[in-house]
């Protein structure tokens, strides 16, 4: 049983000592996934609004899109990005394979469908009649969109959280296109895999604790926001 205690103690020492290699890895993770989430929001939110306000056929398409896009195996995304950026690939001349940029591209592709799906769900949960009500007061289609997104803002928070959570925990695609280069493309997940396979459980545990902490923090925040919003809206509608 000492294995756990040893690992915890070693992990704690690593974190407390501020050993540079651990925090470098954490920062790389946050930088890559943060950038990918931000860019994914630019595409995902307008697309999600469009899908969430359409009816019948388009909505059905959105459902399929959401299910498959969210379920798309990250390793498949990683494979396609790796092929494209490889020396023989169409963008090989840019020399991006095994760079943070490559990782951002892969994570962007993974996060966008999640953000689209969650946004669409949030927007379609705003009653159609609310938009009709706005229209009856003189709102143009653009005003209607503004109002709907405003009403669905909790859903947008959820979209950000879901997208960010999906990619910061992902390991397959970043391995394939990042390559786990120390100080450059080594992120938390790839480092955890490597340290574990090397039997360096202390290092792995320190990073895993931070990763779980980030994911937890995002989810607790999200739950708190949703709960307070629900309480706020109780009695209404």
């Amino acid at each position: 049983m000492r294995i756990y205690a040893d690992a915890v103690i070693e992990g704690w020492r690593l974190l407390a000592s501020g050993a540079l290699d651990v925090w470098t890895i954490v920062l790389a993770s946050l930088r890559v996934s943060g950038a990918a989430t931000s860019i994914a929001l630019l595409f995902g939110v307008p697309l999600g609004y469009w899908l969430g306000t359409r009816r019948s056929v388009a909505r059905h398409v959105a459902l399929v899109f959401a299910n498959t896009g969210m379920g798309l195996p990250p390793v498949a995304v990683g494979l396609v990005v790796a092929m494209t950026l490889s020396r023989r690939g169409p963008l090989g001349d840019l020399g991006l394979l095994y760079s943070q940029t490559a990782m951002v591209i892969a994570q962007l592709i993974i996060a966008t469908p999640v953000i689209v799906a969650v946004t669409a769900a949030a927007v379609s949960a705003v009653p159609r009649e609310l938009r009709l009500q706005a229209r009856s007061l003189g709102a143009s289609p653009f005003h209607e969109m503004l109002l709907t997104v405003r009403e669905a803002r909790m859903g947008l928070v959820a979209a950000v959280a879901a997208g960010f959570g999906a990619i910061i925990s992902e390991v397959g695609a970043v391995q394939m296109v990042g390559g786990n280069l120390a100080g450059e493309t080594r992120v938390m997940t790839t480092a955890i895999v490597q340290f574990t396979r090397m039997g360096r459980y202390g290092h792995a545990l320190a990073l895993a604790a931070i990763l779980v902490g980030i994911v937890l923090a995002v989810n607790v925040l999200l739950t708190a926001v949703q709960t307070s919003a629900e309480r706020h809206e109780a009695g209404l509608r």
């Binding site: 009653p127 229209r135 003189g138 209404l236």
Partner: protein
């Protein structure tokens, strides 16, 4: 005081949710009047309201505002209208932000907005509510905010889609009075969708009864509510189906209508002898008396013998239906009167009504 404007639709056809097609060759709301669209759920009344209110473009047909054709893209026309739906559908935020919404869209100056919001809230009895979050409102307050949000725009056309249906009866009655008072102050043209014929009778100048996408009866409230065109409308309005007969004599503004063996009624109307007509008498205009009663000197032209076939409670009064010849006539009778006469189902009774109370139309 808003300047009145007339609203009309012509040749409208549009499929809607329940699988029927809205099919309205022509409907008109004169300036400053209230039209009630009355019908069961799924009859297309909300769809017709959305078309008239430029909220939905029909598959076919035209909407006319003061005689000019308008469409959902005419912003000017749309800004002349406002709607209140069955549920308040308030936007998240404060009461003031909600009431202000349409004013901001109309680019009214900020100071003027605050002033008009305050006045509108006062008008619906919610003075001092401006800063409250909508989440803290009761159902009735929320519905008043929805009304204020529409009234603050001083619309020339007001569209009401069952604005009271989701409230409990106590609230609904209070708000109905408020709505009526407020609307009477304005010269606004109103389309009021409801499934409640008492509500329609209370608020509307004209009534259009809808069923399965069609307007099955349309006219002044007093006519539609008393002479249903067919059995469906009669049952929907809680009335007996109209009787059928043939005019046998005519003259001096009166006609005699033969309906069944040895039954004849006199009605104030002008039709040629031989015309086939339908007729009905509003239950509130029909008096009943026991068979042996000597009905004193009355100006009522019609005193018929009939048989009581049904006695039903209707709130505070009783609705007694008597069969006269082949026609059923209903009468609203107070409990005091019913007790005194001792009327029972199966017994004979006298059915008394004036010639002017009879509603007649050619078949």
């Amino acid at each position: 005081m808003t300047v009145g404007v007339s609203l009309a639709a012509a040749d409208v056809r549009h499929p809607f949710r329940s699988g029927f097609t809205l099919d309205v060759p022509r409907i008109e709301v004169p300036a400053g009047t209230t039209l009630a669209l009355l019908g069961p759920s799924g009859s297309g009344k909300s769809t017709l309201l959305a078309v008239l209110g430029l909220l939905q473009t029909p598959a076919r047909g035209r909407v006319l505002l003061d005689g000019e054709e308008v469409s959902t893209r005419d912003r000017r026309a749309r800004l002349a209208m406002a709607a209140v739906f069955q549920r308040p559908y308030l936007f998240k935020g404060t009461v003031a932000a909600n009431v202000e919404y349409g004013l901001s869209l109309r680019k009214v100056a900020r100071e003027k907005r605050a002033q008009r919001v305050e006045m509108a809230l006062e008008r619906v009895g919610l003075a001092g509510f401006a800063a409250r979050s909508v989440a803290t409102l009761s159902g009735g307050e929320a519905q008043r905010v929805a009304l204020a949000r529409a009234l603050v725009l001083e619309p020339r056309v007001l569209l009401l889609d069952e604005p009271l249906a989701s409230l409990d009866p106590l609230l609904s009655r209070r708000l109905a009075a408020d709505f009526a008072t407020i609307l009477r102050q304005d010269g606004v043209t109103v389309v009021w969708v409801t499934h409640d014929h008492d509500e329609a009778r209370a608020v509307a100048d004209d009534v259009a009864v809808m069923n399965a996408g069609q307007v099955v009866a349309h006219g002044p409230s007093a006519d539609v509510m008393t002479l249903p065109a067919d059995e469906w409308t009669a049952e929907f309005l809680g009335m007996e189906p109209p009787g059928h007969g043939v005019v046998t004599e005519a003259g001096e503004g009166l006609v005699h209508i033969a309906c069944g063996a040895a039954t004849e009624i006199v009605a104030a109307a002008s039709y040629e002898p031989g015309t086939r007509v339908i007729f009905a008498v509003p239950p509130e205009d029909v008096l009943l008396a026991t068979a042996d009663a000597r009905v004193g000197p009355l100006s009522a032209r019609n005193r018929l013998r009939g048989t009581v076939v049904r006695i039903e409670p209707r709130g505070a009064t009783w609705r007694v239906v008597a069969k006269v010849g082949e026609t059923s006539l209903a009468s609203m009778v107070s409990r005091a009167a019913l007790d005194e006469m001792g009327l029972r189902v199966g017994e004979a009774a006298q059915v008394v009504f004036k010639a002017t109370a009879v509603r007649v139309a050619a078949e």
